[in-house]
């Protein structure tokens, strides 16, 4: 097991290093950080441009710039931002913490719903319940995330109107000013999270529940489940102890593989609900041609995807002994 883990980690490191290089080169070539300054009216003096280029290390060759950047990142310095008042590192950390709150809760919700719905669909295959769940699964799979999010936002607004009190917040990740203590700010944050979390969760839920259904069906048709039933175990016991435990394993990999898609979904969801999270930071940085901020952003998300996949692989090996000894 340990050997497997070490081997797996060693494979991840070169990918991550390569990822940093590809990301940096791609981002550097895709935009000119001085473009905003250059289009300013009246045009800034050449000396200003020169100084700004020097501040952003643009007067150095690409490879040298990459080297400075990557050694800086290791020490926690993500490079200079186009917006000279902003420090990229702390901003990224702050924004990503906000987004991970959303992603974490949405994934949890999606997983719980997907397992429940998938198992029920499989156990009651071709029943009315199964067809209903299948219908909604396909519908959510075909639904654009932003459209669903806007729809839920509108539903939240009319819900607030009927209740006559703002229960569900539809703008921002928290209120600017909250009266009362810690408890009040926690409920405030939760109130802001409900709708975005549901929006984000429903999309992954659709794919995962379909997957869980297929995986459960496969297990239900195996000999050992039939044997467990034949030797007189109760149906409920067989379903939970024998079938479900095995059927859950493949979902681990799918969840990890989908993390990238969920981050993409979070960008859209944050945009709809006007959160000041990682997604909006990325979009702002792209608009400003803020090369170092975009590269840092992509680096952090790539690191998380790689770590998540690593964790999933290791978890898979723990859960499925056939892999460990292979």
């Amino acid at each position: 097991m340990l050997a497997y883990a070490v081997r797996r980690i060693l494979v991840s490191v070169p990918i991550l290093v390569l990822a940093t290089f590809v990301v940096f080169v791609m981002v550097s070539l895709s935009g000119d950080p001085l473009s905003q300054l250059k289009t300013r009216n009246p045009p800034p003096p050449p000396r200003t441009l020169e100084l700004e280029a020097h501040r952003l290390h643009l007067d150095e060759p690409l490879l040298v710039r990459y080297w400075h950047w990557i050694t800086g990142v290791i020490h926690g310095d993500f490079g200079p931002s186009v917006q000279s008042t902003q420090v990229i590192g702390p901003e990224l950390v702050h924004r990503f913490l906000v987004t991970f709150r959303l992603i974490g809760l949405a994934m949890l919700l999606a997983l719980v719903l997907a397992v429940l719905v998938g198992v029920v669909s499989a156990v009651k295959q071709y029943s009315g319940t199964d067809y209903t769940f299948t219908f909604f699964g396909f519908l959510f799979l075909a639904m654009p995330s932003f459209w669903l999010a806007i729809l839920l936002k509108e539903a939240g607004i009319s819900f607030n109107d009927t209740v006559g009190n703002q229960v569900l917040f539809t703008i921002g990740e928290s209120s600017v000013y909250v009266e009362g203590g810690t408890w009040a700010s926690i409920t405030d944050i939760l109130g802001h999270m409900i709708l975005p979390t549901i929006s984000l969760a429903l999309l992954s839920f659709a794919a995962w529940s379909r997957f869980q259904r297929a995986s459960m069906l496969e297990v239900l048709n195996t000999d050992y489940v039939r044997l467990a039933r034949a030797k007189g175990l109760r149906r409920g016991t067989v379903m939970t102890r024998h079938a479900l435990r095995t059927a859950l394993i493949p979902l681990v990999t799918v969840t990890a593989l989908d993390l990238g898609a969920i981050i993409s979904g979070a960008i859209v969801t944050e945009n709809v609900y006007q959160w000041r999270g990682a997604g909006s930071y990325l979009l702002e940085s792209i608009q400003h041609d803020d090369v170092y901020a975009v590269a840092g952003w992509l680096l952090i998300s790539a690191t998380f995807v790689i770590l998540f996949n690593l964790a999933a692989d290791l978890l898979y090996a723990v859960l499925d002994p056939r892999i460990r000894y292979a």
């Binding site: 990918i15 396909f138 639904m143 654009p144 459209w147 593989l257 979009l283």
Partner: protein, 291 residues
Amino acid sequence: MRDRELPVAQRSQAQLVLRRFRQHRLAVSSLIVLLALVLLAFVGGWLWRYSVADLTSDESVPPSWAHPFGTDAAGHDTFAQVLRGTQISIGISVLVAVFATVIGTVWGATAGYYGRRLDTVMMRIADLVLTLPLLAVAAVLGHNVGGSWWLIAVVIAGLYWAYVARVARGVVLSLREKEFVEAARAIGASDARIIFRHLVPNAFGSIIVNATVLVSVAILLETALSYLGFGVRPPDTSLGLLVSEAQTAVETRPWLFFFPGLFIILIALTINFIGDGLRDALDPQQTRVRK
């Protein structure tokens, strides 16, 4: 006179597949709906009395006979806009599916066939593409390609080929060891011939199903990209852009928001069903349908 002993008309692979597909009722009706939508967008858009840029004297009117999908605040006919958006969105996603499938198949088949070092290197590159959130990278690249629709297709295809490569590699890996490949090698067929005449045609089923699903995934990514402002840009339009422009008007002018959204859902939904039907029809192990 073997034919007389076995009175069964011989059927080609394509006929068998078609026959099985036709029995998948949901897939067939989806195909009809999708074809109707495509016709409506490409032929109907051309025949319709208003075009995207036309400003009518009716502003913000709800759906009526003159304007089936209503009009926006500036007087644009929403029906014409939705049809144009559908053209662009379908065009992009089909182009993405074609590009990504061709590149991904060649990439994955080559990696899977040669194995060893080359396989490791090629698949690591594909893994690398898969570790980045697609929408983020597409936004970075899309910001600078200037909003022309086929460039956006190239950007999206440049990210999706890695998925196809994975699928193609998997299929080729299992086919590589089969007897017919060994036989081809024994009679001296070149590597290129084995890959393109023996392996790829046998992997065709999985690849075509994948390409179908890609169309629906690509349309969702394109609309999201255009929604965020990094895809198709005005004066041209896409279904995502239309939703984006209508997002503040859900309450007051719901037709602006619901019609483009409905078109996206219909396209993605029907394509998914068609993909499902194709998957069943192309599965050689399926014996259910033999009438």
